[in-house]
Amino acid sequence: MKKILKEPFLHFIFLGIVLFILYGLVNKNSNSKDTIIINDFDVSALISKWEMQWKRPPTEKELQNLINLNIKQEIFYQEALKMNLDHNDEIIKRRLSQKMKFLSNDIAAMIEPTDEDLKGYYKEHSDKYLTPPSYSLYQITFSPDNRKDNYKDAVETLKQFPNASFDEMKVWGDALPFSYYFEDIDANELGLQLGSKFPEGLKKVAIKQWAGPVQSGFGVHLVYITEIKAPTLPDFELIKKNIIRDYEYDNQQEINEIIYQEFKKNYSIEIDIKSEDFDPKFVEYLQTELNN
């Protein structure tokens, strides 16, 4: 018996038998071949995809390649499924959860808001649609580039010529590549052009007289504000398109969340943390929070 056990050929046969049995156990369908059917529909779909791209039908060889590629992908896909390669794959998890989000987005999109819904939304979010204050003003820039103390220069100019006309005042300032006069420009746009400090500074100066200095990204300015328009809420009809867009966007987020919460009710979430590295109070907190 011992001699037989040492015989390499018999080892080989034995291992072969074991493998065969194991394979039979694991793969019960080993005898029946899987079938991949390529029907009229599949082929015409491939052709129409190709035509969409190339504005001509594929040649016979191109079509053959397309079909081969598809079969290869399908076989790898099927085999991967058999090997459970889709399980616990982070990318696949994310992909499927994204698909669920697409579904819920589509559900959200089916609900058309009424004018009443939109008006309610407009009222509730009126701060979102409020226009910023707008200014009409003259400005004279005192740039630091060619001055020892541009702030002082501005202060002294204002002290000396508080009632100067624009043309008189202009000669004391520096030419920079933006306008001396802004008409009805909103605070956001002013911030973009002259830096965010500028509209902030405007809030503190008197109107209808030379005032300042007001700081910008380019130095300091003497300003003469001719008019300020207070923030207004544009008419509903004027911005209805924006309101619909925002309403639908918010609605989508809301429905995503509701659907998630609905699904979540079917799961009890158990926190199984035993390590003492974690504060038991934190674990307890997680346990209650996550099931709410």
Binding site: Q53, M110, L176, G217, Y249, N266
Partner: protein, 620 residues
């Protein structure tokens, strides 16, 4: 199946509360999106600089999705206009400090359809009897319809063979949806959007990517062109020409020559033949602009190519697109300055100029937010939204890949000189190359050239009108020399909320009498009364707090320059480079906010910059 039950019962509950439309309105109102006949607010004959990005990916791009982005094109357009959007990664939301003027989401064309194809039943379903069933107020009917749909699609049942679900309509649904979202956010005079996609060809991991941008959605192709169709740029151009024949208006913008290992500006075509006149014509007709700076580095110039350019070593990202963080081996053919030189040489040899590129900067973020502000950097991918990940490394990533992430630059910007903030004006400016690129700063750069400028031109208040009337702006050609050298006007204004300027330079390239290419850099303006360009501007950055001061540098440069070595018989180009004073790199802001030491293997401070499109001179 049980889960779907709940989803449906919920749907029905909601449907009972509100009116349900059986047909989703996806067609945007065409009268609203057309350019208004009247001029919009801010219109200027002498043009304004509008800043934006056209190279932005979202979770609808395969790699945006796999790398943790949780947002879509709608979110991206909201971000650009100043709204806060979800960030993925550590969950920190994304919000820009100063909103942009225009934006174009350009998701990868590859697999674009596959993401929403099966999961998005909106348009085709709405045309079917199925739509009525699924939106029925009878719970049982709605439930069964939805269940049938999902079941059949996962098992290849009858509904999945329904032609409407699988024909070209559904194949193009994602592209159409992107176009629709883009239309929805376009507000002439306020915020401009463009439909776009990226053609992502990288043969042998050598990057040949191009963003394809449409002026509007008029006659836009039904499906984007992907590198699965072809990896040859020549084929992309043919497809673009075909699209033009069908009434679309579009251009392409290549990027990341630095990751192409010499292939982006190769002197041969895709078949290995030397560049012909026909190739040059097709390339320059379809590709007016090149993206010089973005998250995957700057590709103006490499120190190996221009060893005498002391500012050449700026945010170089020297990798191919291989996932193994493989380095490039070829410098020539990878950087724009070399390409501009090769272009005028090829032109002087009678084969046209294949590399006649205007310049923009852009982002290439894959997380909807362009991430252009150095002190508000949120990374290229969703997973880098956590500052510890982008500085210390993403857990589980090999170290060379983490180093690639640390060497990512913050996003760049495209500056466009246009009369107003509309598709018409901005697109036309791109076509005319009246653009400049920046590494992310919003400094504004003007550049004009002429044989007719009076040297006192800039002392006149109305100099801009004169400059346009008697000269050409950046991106144009100078011809007809009048026996004298050309004079250029250079104006640069610092970013309103940003850093002061160190210097303005003119970079000249030309073909000498022997047919060889030459380059020379002239400092045409220096801050702080310096007269020697070799004197550095200084550095005010405090590395402990990541703060700098504008006590050095200039607010504005405004000067003229006449080429002292002009030879009317030689092809040449001139472009402007304006350099800021040193400011903290994003990684330094991160280190300070995380309270960790600043790494020594990446620069702690950088000198952000802008590049104008060139002005070309040719003798005839």
């Amino acid at each position: 199946m049980k889960k779907i039950l709940i989803l449906l019962s919920f749907l029905t509950v909601v449907a009972c509360k509100k009116d349900v439309k059986s047909e989703k309105i996806t067609e945007s109102n065409s009268t609203e999106t057309k350019q208004p006949a009247s001029r919009t607010a801010g219109y200027s004959e002498t043009k304004n600089a509008y800043f934006g990005n056209l190279h932005i990916h979202t979770s609808w791009s395969f790699d945006g999705f796999t790398n943790g982005s949780v947002t879509d094109p709608d979110d991206a357009y909201r971000w650009a206009q100043g709204e806060s959007i979800p960030g993925g990664g550590d969950g920190t939301p994304l919000q820009i400090k100063t909103p942009l003027d225009w934006y174009a989401v350009s998701d990868h064309a590859e697999w674009m359809g596959m993401f929403k194809m099966m999961a998005d039943p909106s348009t085709p379903i709405s045309k079917l009897d199925f739509a009525k069933r699924v939106t029925s107020k009878d719970q049982a009917i709605a439930f069964k319809a939805f269940g049938d749909f999902l079941y059949d699609f996962s098992t290849g049942g009858p509904l999945s063979k329904e032609p409407l679900f699988s024909d070209e309509n559904i194949m193009k649904s994602v592209w159409k949806e992107i176009v629709d979202i883009t239309e929805n956010h376009n507000k002439p005079g306020k915020f401009t959007t463009f439909p776009a996609f990226e053609w992502s060809s990288n043969p042998n991991t050598q990057n040949l990517h191009r963003v394809v941008l449409f002026k509007n959605s008029d006659n836009i192709p039904e499906i984007a062109y992907s590198s699965l169709n072809s990896t040859r740029p020549e084929d992309l151009w043919t497809w673009m020409e075909d699209s033009r024949t069908n009434g679309a208006t579009l251009l392409a913008i290549p990027h990341n020559g630095n990751a192409s290992d010499g292939l982006m500006f190769s002197l041969n075509d895709s078949d290995g033949n030397p560049i012909s006149k026909a190739y040059s014509d097709a390339r320059s007709r379809n590709e007016p602009l090149y993206e010089i700076s973005q998250i995957k580095g700057t590709s103006e110039v490499h120190p190996d190519l221009s060893p005498n350019d002391e500012f050449s070593n700026f945010e170089i990202w020297d990798y191919t697109l291989a996932t193994t963080a493989e380095r490039n081996t070829h410098r020539k053919g990878s950087y724009l300055r070399q390409a501009l030189l090769d272009g005028i040489r090829i032109e002087s040899e009678g084969n046209g100029n294949p590399f006649k590129y205007g310049i923009i900067g852009d982002s290439d973020s894959h997380n909807s937010a362009a991430s252009i502000e150095e002190d508000n950097y949120t990374g290229k991918f969703g997973m880098e939204n956590d500052p510890a990940h982008r500085v210390n490394g993403v857990p589980g990533f090999p170290e060379p890949n983490n180093q690639q992430i640390r060497e990512f630059s913050s996003g760049g910007l495209a500056g466009v000189w246009a009369e107003e903030n509309t598709r018409e004006a901005i697109y036309n400016a791109m076509l005319k190359k009246e653009t400049f690129g920046t590494s992310g700063t919003r400094m504004k750069v003007r550049f004009f050239g002429s044989f007719n400028f009076d040297e006192n031109i800039i002392s006149n208040d109305d100099w801009l009108t004169t400059a346009y009337a008697y000269g050409v702006p950046m991106g144009s050609n100078l011809t007809n020399p009048k026996g004298s050298a050309p004079t250029f006007i250079i104006q640069a204004l610092k970013e309103a909320n940003g850093a002061n300027l160190d210097r303005a330079q003119i970079i000249k390239g030309w073909v000498d009498a022997k047919g060889k290419t030459q380059e020379k850099i002239y400092n045409v303006a220096l801050s702080d009364d310096r007269t020697d360009g070799a004197t550095p501007v200084g550095n005010t950055v405090d590395l402990k707090t990541a703060k700098y001061s504008n006590d050095i540098g200039a607010v504005q440069f405004f000067t003229t320059w006449t080429d002292p070595e002009f030879d009317a018989s030689q092809n040449a180009f001139y472009y402007v480079r304006v350099i800021e004073i040193p400011t903290p790199r994003w990684s330094t802001y991160d280190a300070v906010s995380l309270g960790i030491p600043i790494r020594t293997d990446i620069p702690a401070t950088i000198q952000e910059r802008a590049w104008s499109s060139p002005i070309w001179y040719s003798p005839k």
